[in-house]
Amino acid sequence: MTDRRSPIDAYLRRLSMRLWVTAPLKRREILREVEDHLHAAASDLQGEGGDVFGSERRAVERFGRYPVGRSIAIAVAVGILALAAFAAWTAESPGPSQARVVRASISWAGEPTNSWLAVASVHPNQFQIPLRAVQAELPADENTLKSRPGPGYCGQKYQVVTLVWSDGTTQHYPLCIAPQSILRIRHTLVASYHRSAAAKRWRPVRLLVLRDRVQNAERIVTARTGRPTVEIILRPLPGFAGLTGYPGYPFHTLPRAHGRFSDPERRQTFDG
């Protein structure tokens, strides 16, 4: 069965689709102008004795393919590539593709009073890292600043960084930082943290701190600012996955053995 729909209408529909990235007003103008052209041509051809359908088809053939601008073609190509890249990325990431930190805190065990972290904290055992500020500054008192801990010393044992994510998940990162070292935490680095698509695990959290006594640091790098700053990278440990944050934090359940975190990944660095 032959398709007897108007060739001009069919052409305009196709053209409208090809012009989808064109600004709406411009697209309407082009379509209106082309429609007028095709109908005028078809009318002339009918005047020469052609039938309606044949005249419209001939007018469309004579008109040819409307040249879509190069910029539009580039925009289409870029859009298609972006969609393809997004599709490929999401295919490799079954979990939540993007999450943001909605709450970050550092919890610690030990004596609440005289705790250097407590100086900066409203809560005796927890410091809330403000997410809105550019950076959080944790002041250390005079005594802790004077102390020079040795390689095996961890001033505040069982410190845990807890991150609560927008998708409801919570991650705990064991931490052992010498008292005077954690003066600044750049939360922006924490907040820009994403899921690792390939490994389906959280990517390392980076905290920027001052001084160099960070015993369980994954990596210590030279500061970019020229100040005595180091960057520590923490990885979530499976043993912490079931824990909830303070209050009621069961510190005695933290996976440790003889002063070490039990995870093999942590032993060498924690040992100092």
Binding site: E29, I30, D36, H37, F63, G64, P67
Partner: protein
């Protein structure tokens, strides 16, 4: 590339596109017209030598309008909206300049061909 037809040589493609602006400006001199009429005039005035894909006319018209050489307005015709183009003063000047350039070029080619026998 020229196409050979039963009616003679048809000029199409890049050679024609290179002179399309001049041809459009010349077609509109003193006579505003819509796209289809411009295509008709080009075909008639060239005695069918120019094999212009009619759709290629519109990007050229829009480009000339962006350059300020043409202006357009919408009118009602046969129950449809029709866009009518006309030359601006800048378009008239451009036409004069491009025409001189073309005549100089044409004269140079002609002189060369004659010199070569």
């Amino acid at each position: 590339m020229p196409l050979i037809s039963g009616y003679g040589v048809l000029v199409s493609g890049e050679p024609l596109k290179g002179h399309l602006d001049l041809l459009i400006l010349a077609t509109l001199r003193g006579r505003p017209a819509h796209g289809y009429a411009i295509a008709q005039r080009l075909a008639e005035s060239s005695s069918g030598v120019f094999d212009l894909g009619e759709s290629t006319l519109y990007p050229a018209l829009h480009r000339l309008q962006r350059r300020g050489l043409l202006t357009s307005n919408w009118v009602e015709a046969s129950g449809r909206q029709r866009r009518v183009y006309r030359l601006t003063p800048a378009g008239i000047n451009a036409l004069a300049g491009q025409r001189k350039d073309w005549e100089r070029f044409q004269g140079g080619v002609q002189a060369t061909l004659e010199a070569m026998g």
